[in-house]
């Protein structure tokens, strides 16, 4: 507390701190990095109630701020290798994206839902069809904008995530796959989804660490067929196990590339445990008449996220900030308009 104390403390401080101890252990076996989630149920419930109150009072205008606060809560309570994630997004930013998405999409949804009442009967079908097409065409833009926004506003140990996908390129790929999907009567849709995910992952960054998604549309189709059969044979009893298998498919095919080496995420989630979480969540939601539903959704979130681990060889201390140069390259108004998040 006193000025003098500072000097004596500083001299005790080892130059590399506790890190020094870890450096000597480096060649030895390093345990997996596990994600832990610390969010308290009551804290989350309070936040959800507060958000609901303000959202109702402002006739929905508070919604983006509510969403931002929830995200901040989820990010900050998520820990790996002893540090927390951080969310830098603000309600104001989300509000801008929200208004854009709302005015645009809301108009077409209104047209679809209520158009038949107001429009001349002969034109209804065309207007509705056109509205669906517009909304469909909006999807890649929304994914692009959301990835850009979400990743750039997420950080860990001061290092920002980022997205470097090119919208034009993404549209080109997706449109071609969409065409194939129509031509193959939907079957190619499995490739469409996975190819889109591969593209998005490939262009996602965590500082100088890049991500990748390893599976193909064929893998996804195979998984869907097997899980679908198992669900059908067991009359839906297999559902929780199937959901976990899909979750593991997404997680375990996601890799992080550091210094030329790819480390794949692992999930040790199990269907039986998931069923238990689902039952618990359903129970608490029902007996509380829905009031405790935020707690239920937090349990499910915790279950999913805490199942994730990463090889101990991945070094969370050696990530370089790269986001700055990225920001300079695309920090213009057009990109800002695409910063949609909803």
């Amino acid at each position: 507390m006193e000025e003098q104390g500072l000097n004596s403390d500083t001299s005790n401080l080892s130059p590399t701190g506790t890190e020094g101890a870890q450096v000597t252990q480096k060649p030895m076996f390093r345990p997996h990095h596990r994600i832990t989630f610390h969010g308290s149920n009551m804290q989350y419930l309070g936040l959800a109630l507060y958000n609901l109150l303000l959202t109702v009072l402002t006739l929905g205008l508070y919604y983006p701020w509510a969403k931002s606060a929830i995200r901040k809560f989820l990010w900050q309570e998520t820990e790996i290798d002893g540090s927390r994630f951080d969310w830098h997004g603000t309600g104001k930013e989300m509000f801008r994206g929200f208004i854009k998405a709302y005015l645009f999409l809301g108009f077409f949804f209104l047209l679809i839902n209520f158009g038949p009442m107001f429009l001349p009967p002969s034109s209804v079908i065309w207007v509705v069809l056109f509205s669906y097409l517009v909304i469909l065409a909006f999807v890649p833009l929304a994914i692009h904008g959301a990835m850009r926004y979400r990743l750039s506003r997420t950080s860990f140990r001061g290092i920002h995530f980022g997205y470097r996908g090119n919208l034009k390129e993404f549209y080109g790929k997706v449109s071609l796959d969409f065409l194939f999907t129509i031509l193959t009567l939907g079957i190619y849709g499995y490739w469409l989804q996975i190819n889109a995910r591969r593209y998005v992952m490939k262009h996602s960054r965590f500082g100088d660490v890049s991500a990748k998604f390893n599976a193909t549309g064929g893998d996804f189709l195979g998984l869907t067929i097997i899980q679908g059969l198992l669900i059908a044979v067991t009359i839906y009893i297999y559902m929780p196990w199937a959901l976990i298998n899909f979750y593991k498919f997404y997680i375990e095919n996601t890799g992080l590339e550091q210094n030329g080496k790819t480390y794949y995420l692992k999930s040790d989630a199990r269907g039986g445990d998931f069923l238990w979480v689902l039952l618990k969540s359903a129970f608490i939601t029902i007996i509380s008449l829905g009031l405790a539903s935020p707690i239920a959704s937090l349990w499910i979130h915790k279950f999913y996220i805490e199942s994730i681990s990463l090889s101990g060889e991945f070094d969370f201390d050696a990530i370089q900030q790269t986001e700055k140069s990225y920001k300079d390259a695309t920090g213009d108004d057009i990109a800002d308009i695409l910063d949609l998040d909803f």
Partner: protein, 405 residues
């Protein structure tokens, strides 16, 4: 005050052990870089970035991008900093204040939410929607109604002859209305009739088969004309639309899910809304008839008819289930009797219309309050058109639906 912590410089993710010293308006940080050189950094307290949410996280950030970060060993260490600078902006927020209220705050928030929601749901939204629907110009209302009519009639067979006759009947009634009302008869076994915005009435021929007196048809048309005069269907649509916008904005879901929500949670309130409209149409229709010197008793006999058919069907169902008619007495409380009553009489709370018993009751009350010296015109001309209508009658009727909208 000195605290051990980790310092992250914003260039790499490397956590460097550091010593943090709290001063009056700044935090001073001493750490070593990779070449073991002693470095220091000073954070102005007023430039520490806002942590507007109190979580169990244990860091604070400073400055412009790329931010520097101080990570503490525990939440307690961070709390010590917050306590050291109680007025500092970086840890102030409305929610943090709210969360200090604890359970009391949450419960009052909950009560607040419920009260506000109930108010908007039952008063605010219907009021706004109603004012909106009332302010729509008549020409546009007629345009919408015409759309509805065309869409609907595309799939129906119009009985042109009877449509002309019923129109003449309607004109002869000479009801007061701001709208040019046109009546159409649709060929259908179903017993029904409804009104569209802007002056269109559709009557199903099945309903015509049930009528025995011109007063009954007059009662039916007066009821529908009142729906048109009061813009009931437009007001209902407008309320649904408002509910959609409200739900979509509350849930942030502009697409599919909220429309399902609306259909379910809006149902009960919509039903009571619609029952009120039906009662209003009955009572105003009654007044329209009286003002045009037509005897309103036909309205009552129409509902009496529905009621008697209903109880007949009840008895038939009872017979099919092997019960005799006494089993259906009010007093009999067997599961079967309950089932039959339930099947044949949808409870009023779940119905868009008041039950016929209630409609007869309030109409008879109106009847008894009429001036006894009041005379009704000799309805010869109405009877003439009514008889014409009946002449072209066809027989088969499907009475699974009873009544009109």
């Amino acid at each position: 005050m000195t605290i051990e912590a980790y310092f992250i410089d914003g260039q790499t993710s490397k956590r460097r052990a550091c010593l943090v010293t709290l001063q009056a308006n700044a935090i001073s940080i001493v750490y070593y870089d990779d070449s073991l050189q002693k470095l220091s950094s000073t954070w102005r307290v007023d430039a520490i970035l806002r942590q507007d949410l109190r979580t169990t996280s244990n860091y604070i950030k400073y400055g412009d991008f790329p931010h520097q970060v101080l990570e503490f060993n525990s939440e307690q260490d961070l709390s010590r900093i917050i306590e050291y600078y109680p007025e500092a902006l970086f840890h102030q927020s409305a929610y943090n204040k709210f969360s200090t209220f604890g359970w009391k705050g949450m419960v009052s928030a909950l009560v607040g939410v419920i009260m506000v929601a109930v108010f908007f749901f039952f008063y605010g939204v219907p009021f706004i929607a109603d004012s909106f629907a009332r302010s729509i110009p008549k020409e546009y209302e007629t345009y919408i109604g015409n759309n509805f009519r065309q869409t609907y009639l595309q799939y129906q067979t119009i009985d042109t002859l009877r449509s002309e006759q019923i129109q003449q009947f309607y004109n002869q009634m000479n009801l007061e209305s701001d709208y040019d009302i046109s009546v159409v008869v649709v060929d259908s076994k179903i017993i029904n009739a409804f009104a569209l915005p802007g002056g269109y009435i559709v009557v199903f021929s099945g309903l015509l088969e049930m009528l025995e007196e011109e007063d009954e048809l007059a009662g039916l048309l007066a009821h529908e004309a009142s729906h048109i005069n009061e813009r009931h269907s437009l007001r209902l649509i407008s309320k649904d639309l408002a509910m959609y916008v409200l739900f979509a904005s509350l849930t942030g879901d502009v697409g599919g899910f909220s429309s399902i929500l609306i259909e379910n949670s809006n149902l009960v309130s919509s039903l009571s809304y619609s029952r009120n409209f039906e009662k209003e149409a009955d009572l105003e229709g009654f007044d329209l008839l009286v003002n045009s010197e037509i005897n309103p008793k036909g309205m009552i006999s129409l509902f009496a008819k529905f009621q008697s058919i209903n109880s007949k069907m009840e008895q038939e169902l009872a017979k099919k289930m092997g019960m005799d008619s006494t089993d259906l007495d009010e007093s009999s409380d067997t599961a079967k009797a309950w089932f039959v009553r339930f099947i044949e009489n949808v409870p009023e709370i779940l119905s868009t219309h008041p039950i016929p018993e209630n409609r007869i009751r309030y109409l008879e009350e109106e009847m008894s309050q009429l001036d006894p010296t009041l005379t009704f015109r000799e309805n010869d001309s109405l009877k003439l058109y009514f008889d014409k209508l009946l002449k072209t009658s066809k027989v088969s009727v499907d009475s699974s639906h009873l009544g009109f909208d």
